[in-house]
């Protein structure tokens, strides 16, 4: 592996011999709040819709004629642009990635807004999408993380091409990471090629205005009526530590044990296998730069809303008051690490994992550190985490027919 770091721009090149497809992934830190919800999503969409050199159609045709994938995506903390290609197309793929990052025109902003709004409206036909949006928007009210799709529907029409271009300029000056993983016999040579190609990214003016979000002031329940729904969808969440927190690894292992290990987690076993309440029940730990959210989700018969919420509570209290067995703890750790291996099989997965580690300032050796951190978690840590975070203030969001929402 070869690395380069200068003026807020880092490059990593990793050789995985005899792999036919390579990936170059470029991440930009988002450190500032956009004026309107939807700005980051629109930047991501328009980045790959034409440049000064190539119209949107020419760009797409060139990619398809060569079997090159190019995509971009905006998440709460970063913007990402990525290309995946056959090894022989390295030169063209890196040139196209350069072109879109430096020369995108952001033409047809109003058309893209129209399309985005249509896609959001269609997506909100789904109960799960609706309840997730309500949950996130309520939890992060007043914070950029609360810029959900429904807020985008309300604010998107205020967005202009100039607003997008100006905000992209700010993003371009943030911290940037470029990771290339593929069958690169001469890593040093590839590193030098990428350094020259992406020299324009070497500019750094670190400043950010997004604040940490750490407290839910009071227990809150928000309800959405959907009278035709066969199932109720329930989300209950707590604010917990982020990846910088000393609790991070403990929270990862606790989340696994409670509800993210697959078919044998506690929530799955107790609420699905033993009580038959749901097909889907799980916990998630979403780690953002300024907030950590641990949440439980269940899709169940509307008449089981109370039973499900009681089931969540029972599992929290059980973990808080009783240390898990050593076998269960070791199992959760192995599951966390096994999943890490599972999701690091392709060059694309590896490039993204490394880029995320760097953009969140975790360093190039984070994987080894992470394994150590996970392995050092104790039984008591898990009970402590349940007591510290999951018995505190929470937000519950439920979608169900009106007659079942009186709880």
């Amino acid at each position: 592996m070869k690395t380069y770091k200068q003026d807020g721009f880092e490059i990593i090149v990793k050789n995985n011999p005899k792999t036919p497809r390579a990936c170059i992934s470029c991440y930009f830190s988002i450190d500032n709040a956009a004026k309107y919800a939807g700005v980051n999503s629109l930047i991501a969409r328009l980045l790959v819709r034409g440049t000064n050199k190539r119209t949107a159609e020419e760009l797409t045709l060139e990619l398809q004629n060569n079997g090159i994938e190019l995509s971009s995506e905006a998440r709460q903390d970063y913007l990402k642009a990525e290309t995946v290609f056959l090894n022989q197309d390295f030169d063209l793929a890196k040139e196209i990635l350069h072109d879109v990052l430096e020369n995108s025109t952001f033409l047809e902003t109003s058309k893209e807004i129209f399309k985005l709004k249509g896609e959001i409206t269609a997506n909100l036909d789904s109960s799960v999408a609706k309840v997730s949006d309500k949950f996130t928007r309520t939890l992060f009210e007043g914070h950029p993380y609360g810029n959900t799709v429904t807020k985008t529907l309300e604010e998107a029409d205020f967005i202009t091409a100039d607003i997008l271009k100006d905000f992209y300029k700010i993003i371009l000056k943030s911290k940037k990471v470029l990771v290339a993983v593929g069958s690169f016999e001469d890593e040093e040579k590839v590193l030098n090629i990428l350094k020259n190609e992406f020299l324009f990214l070497q500019n750094h003016e670190p400043k950010g205005d997004i604040k940490d979000f750490k407290v839910i002031e009071e227990d809150k329940t928000v309800k959405i009526i959907k009278n035709s729904a066969n199932q109720a969808h329930i989300l209950q969440g707590w604010l917990v530590g982020t990846a910088d927190s000393e609790d991070y690894a403990k929270l990862v292992v606790m989340n696994n044990l409670l509800g993210s290990s697959g078919l044998s987690s506690r929530l799955f076993y107790e609420l699905r296998d033993k009580q038959g309440l749901a097909y889907t029940v799980r916990s998630s730990y979403e780690v953002l730069r300024h907030a950590g959210i641990l949440s439980f989700y269940i899709g169940t018969s509307p008449k089981n809303i109370n039973k499900s919420l009681d089931g969540f509570k029972t599992e929290i209290i059980k973990l808080r008051d009783n240390l898990p067995t050593e076998e269960e703890l070791q199992g959760a750790k192995e599951n966390v690490l096994g999943r890490l291996a599972y999701f690091s099989q392709t060059n694309e997965q590896q490039a993204n994992m490394m880029a995320r580690d760097l953009i969140f300032n975790r360093g190039t050796d984070y994987r080894e550190k992470y394994v150590q951190m996970i392995n050092s978690v104790t039984r008591k840590d898990l009970s402590d985490m349940a007591g510290k975070y999951l018995t505190g203030k929470s937000l519950i969001a439920v979608i169900a027919p009106e007659e079942y929402l009186d709880f």
């Binding site: 079997g67 129209f114 409206t121 097909y279 096994g338």
Partner: protein, 439 residues
């Protein structure tokens, strides 16, 4: 025992296919890396069901995880997941498959537990839960029967699922593909443990199962011997061959519309096409899927979304499902409900336009297909799924080998011919889901 070696695109070594004396097929593929995958594909799904037991294949899939004589319910999940495994199963029209993806160092454990689950399920009544009348009072003890009913309800709330089932039902007259794989709450609530076990004994026979192992193995023979040692089938040796009347091309147009609590409209055009064994036509239809949908430059996307200022479509795409007794081609769209008539007309127009394919379109579609081969050889689970699909649905793994040469032979004229044979907007099923009118 017979062994056949098959050159498989983008794998370092040929894939070994063993046909054991008891009829059990074992396929071993070498893939360098930390992970390994073991899966078994059973050639049964809703194709072998009837109106009385519809959903039994899928229900059985759930119950296979409920313990054996060696391991109680939950132990399979617990033991393997505590080694970091990803385990699951899926049921479709032609097959049901079970898999474990795990670090290669645990492959022996994975084979041991997976084989035990496949050959010795107990299907305990206490895990299934009592039979009940779905229109009466629900039992207190809900268990797995209720989990499946919740899964059915989940599907009923999904609008894409709704329009798919509506269209699929219209496409067939009598063929078992007409039914939903998941079945109905009415059947699942009443089906007995004995009937489910009978179904297991009938179809989970050695000649009806292929076991696939993918990973970085030093000694292939050792893996093969472990499979042979662990798969000691104890019930029937052969599965019955059920003959269904093929339904390969729709003769008349069919249309059905339903309403739902949505704010957008959903439409699906469904076409019946030939069997996967007709490899050239199957590949041609797969290329037509890419020409019509799937990317920004595809015809439907570029004409109806990308090159329109205010499109009335939120999404439009194509998909192509391969089934042993006849494939399905679909066009699906989500749209502004004020434009329903126009949407149907526009899609029909685009279908008519398939009488003229350009060389550039053909070239792009072929390139995409070749890249997909590379993509599908990147992880042990993708490789296992590709092999499982080819062997179970096409019935012959050598199709993989023939794929690239057959792809080369396809011309634009041939694509036009196949499109005109199958993709006629006036000889297909059209399902529509529209928003309920406000009271």
């Amino acid at each position: 025992m017979k062994r056949e070696l098959i050159d498989y695109p983008y794998l370092e070594k040929p894939v070994s296919l063993y046909k054991l004396d008891n009829g059990h097929t074992v396929i071993i593929a070498y893939k360098k890396g930390e992970m390994a995958n073991v899966s078994s594909w059973v050639k049964t799904g809703s194709i072998n069901e009837n109106d009385k037991n519809n959903g039994v294949s899928h229900f059985l899939e759930h119950l296979m995880f409920k313990g054996t004589h060696k391991y109680k319910a939950g132990e399979f999940d617990r033991i393997l997941e505590r080694k970091g495994a990803i385990i699951n199963a899926a049921t479709w029209k032609d097959y049901t498959f079970y898999y474990v993806t795990i670090e290669g160092k645990y492959i022996d454990l994975a084979i041991k537990m997976h084989s035990d689950m496949m050959i010795d399920p107990v299907l305990p009544k206490e895990e299934i839960g009592p039979e009940f009348d779905p229109n009466g009072k629900a039992p207190d003890d809900k268990r797995e029967r209720y989990v499946v009913i919740e899964e059915i309800k989940m599907g009923e709330d999904n609008d894409w699922g709704k329009v798919y089932h509506l269209t699929n039902n219209l496409m067939y007259e009598k063929h078992p593909y007409k039914r939903k794989v998941i079945g109905t709450a009415d059947i699942i609530s009443r089906i007995s443990q004995e009937k489910i076990m009978d179904y297991y004994k009938t179809f989970y026979t050695p000649d009806n199962i292929s076991t696939i192992v993918v990973g970085e193995f030093k000694d292939e023979e050792e893996i093969l011997n472990k499979i042979i040692e662990n798969f000691k089938f104890q019930y029937n040796k052969t599965a019955p061959v059920i003959k269904n009347e093929p339904e390969l091309i729709m003769k008349v147009p069919k249309y059905e519309e339903k309403t739902s609590e949505t704010s957008t409209g959903y439409v699906m055009f469904g076409f019946l096409t030939d069997v996967p064994k007709n490899l050239k036509e199957t590949i041609a239809l797969s290329l037509l899927t890419g020409i019509l949908g799937g990317s920004r430059t595809s015809r439907l996307n570029s004409k109806l979304i990308e090159n329109v200022d205010k499109p009335h479509y939120n999404a439009i795409d194509t998909c192509y499902y391969q089934f042993r007794e006849g494939n399905n081609f679909f066009i699906e769209a989500n749209f502004d409900p004020d434009y329903k008539e126009q949407v149907i007309k526009e899609i029909k127009e685009e279908l008519k336009g398939l009488n003229k394919i350009t060389e550039d379109e053909l070239k792009r579609a072929k390139k995409r297909t070749l890249v997909e081969f590379v993509e599908n050889a990147e992880t042990v689970s993708d490789i296992a799924e590709e092999i499982g699909h080819y062997y179970t649905v096409c019935g012959d793994l050598s199709y993989v080998k023939q794929y690239e040469t057959t792809l080369d032979e396809i011309t634009k004229e041939y694509l036009e011919e196949v499109a005109s044979k199958y993709l006629d907007g006036d000889r297909c099923a059209i399902g529509v889901v529209m928003p309920k009118e406000e009271a």
